[in-house]
């Protein structure tokens, strides 16, 4: 039996009828977009990456990007929540079918998964962790504080990076996945940010006991390079792209919002064209990266392929391109639309999109990715990274 695929027109309808209408309130109140996320859950979007055998859609990254972008046109926060959830789901689907089939089934029936990778004093470095798993007999004691957990107060399950043991180096990372109900989960603060206000990215504290089965098998580096990072960057980029695209669409569809005749017309046309040019460039990189990862997955590529420098540079470039060019587009839209339409709260929601997209460069800081890419470029013509990673 094949699951019915979700077609883009369904997503656009959902955006028109639910997601966009709630975006302003979600932003003004800084609240979780429960209506939009529920609507997405009911329509099956949360099970996009769950295998068909466990009740999911077993979809591609390319397909997901398209839907995530459309959702972004309605509400950036909702799209980012969908993106981050999809990222966690993809990790379980690709790396934890044996250990976490149950959790995947629950995702297929509407569970929302969140990510716990931030840690104090770590500087956003994904491949290290400090808080250790502490083994006591067959039990694994688990305690973790995280400064930023997007929609952490609304998730049904979490994937968290931990140091493998008290003796292990910070570079020895284990990934655990567990349900909200199985450990103590405490929200320890608020989220009252400039933008992405619906993501409710709060500090949290977790404490409890896990079993061996909570730990995802395999090296975390493989999970990160094969799935967590690529899906993350591509999905976030699609959300940001959609957000900017939606704002542009709403502005151009109301032609009376801009002065189109007289001396200011030619510069207006040029500015609009540049905004669209930037967005087209972003989408081109997203599509290329999505195609690449889908191809690697379907050909069962080995870890070596994911260590390749051109691949890593591309995956970082997706995030970099989207973060800077989508925000630049939003900034131009504010200028173009002027005070009434661009700077004040208006139907087109341009100022909200501007505030949302200002966060993009900070979500895993662009500077870190640029620094990584620069290093990689200096050894790209050698085979150093691949060979250094596999002694």
């Amino acid at each position: 039996m094949t699951q019915a695929a979700i077609v883009p027109e369904q997503t656009r309808k959902l955006v028109r009828e639910v997601i966009l209408p709630h975006a302003r309130a979600v932003d003004e109140e800084g609240r979780f977009p429960k209506e939009s996320v529920s609507a997405l859950a009911e329509a099956g979007y949360l099970r996009w990456f769950v295998p068909r055998s466990l009740g999911g859609l077993q979809g591609t990254v390319s397909g997901f990007s398209e839907h995530c972008a459309i959702v972004g046109e309605g509400c950036t926060s909702t799209a980012l929540i969908l993106a981050m959830h999809a990222q966690q789901t993809a990790v379980l689907a690709k790396h934890a079918l044996d250990t976490h089939a149950d959790l995947l089934r629950k995702v297929a029936s509407g569970y929302l998964l969140a990510s716990v990778t931030t840690e104090a004093g770590k500087g956003g470095h994904l491949l290290t962790a400090h808080a250790p798993l502490i083994r006591k007999g067959s039990q694994i004691l688990f305690e973790r504080t995280a400064p930023v957990v997007s929609y952490g107060g609304y998730a049904n399950g979490y994937l968290a990076t931990m140091r493998e043991s008290e003796e292990a180096l910070p570079e020895s990372v284990a990934l655990v996945a567990f349900e909200q109900a199985s450990v103590q989960c405490e929200v320890r603060g608020e989220w009252n940010a400039m933008g992405m206000r619906g993501t409710c990215s709060v500090p949290m504290h977790f404490k409890g006991v896990l079993t061996e089965g909570a730990i995802l098998p395999g090296a975390f580096r493989s999970i990160a390079l094969q799935t967590m990072v690529p899906v993350g960057h591509i999905a976030w980029a699609a959300a940001w792209y959609g957000s900017a695209r939606g704002a542009l669409r709403r502005l151009t569809s109301r032609r009376n919002a801009t002065r189109r005749t007289g001396d200011s017309a030619e510069p207006l046309y040029a500015k609009l064209a540049e905004i669209r040019l930037n967005l087209d460039l972003v989408w081109a990189v997203i599509e290329q990266a999505a195609r690449t990862i889908d191809q690697l997955w379907s050909s069962n590529a080995q870890q070596e392929a994911y260590e390749a420098i051109p691949f890593n540079v591309l995956i970082n470039n997706v995030k970099l391109a989207a973060a800077r060019l989508c925000f630049a587009a939003a900034s131009s839209l504010v200028e173009l639309a002027g005070l009434a339409e661009g700077y004040l709260p208006a139907q087109s929601g341009i100022e909200r999109v501007f505030r949302d997209l200002r966060a993009a460069s900070l979500m895993f800081h662009d500077d870190r990715l640029l620094a990584t890419n620069g290093r990689l470029l200096l050894v790209e013509e050698t085979d150093f990274l691949r060979r250094a990673a596999s002694p």
């Binding site: 491949l127 180096l169 910070p170 570079e171 260590e307 990584t372 290093r375 990689l376 200096l378 050894v379 013509e381 050698t382 085979d383 150093f384 990274l385 060979r387 250094a388 990673a389 596999s390 002694p391």
Partner: protein, 85 residues
């Protein structure tokens, strides 16, 4: 221990964990087990090349050369000797 060894130890230390200023880097201990990951290995490469004014040829840029202090030291000394000719 040669001068190269000493210089290399000083270059290595910032990239490793648990090797204090008074300690030597154990010559045969895998550097990976001392905290060296692939991105740090790139920085280490740049540091070694700049400090000794050498460039590793591509065929020497692999996990073997950077596996241990001894392996790296041997590689550096061979490049210094080749340059001296």
């Amino acid at each position: 221990m040669s001068t190269t060894d000493e210089l290399l130890t000083n270059l290595l230390r910032p990239f490793l964990r648990g090797v204090s200023p008074e300690q030597q880097v154990p010559p045969e201990t895998p550097l990976i087990s001392l905290g060296l990951d692939s991105l740090k290995a790139i920085d280490l490469l740049f540091s070694v090349e700049e400090h000794f004014n050498i460039q590793f040829p591509d065929h020497m840029l692999n996990g073997d050369t950077f596996a241990t202090h001894r392996a790296l030291s041997t590689a550096v000394e061979s490049l210094l000797a080749a340059r001296a000719k």
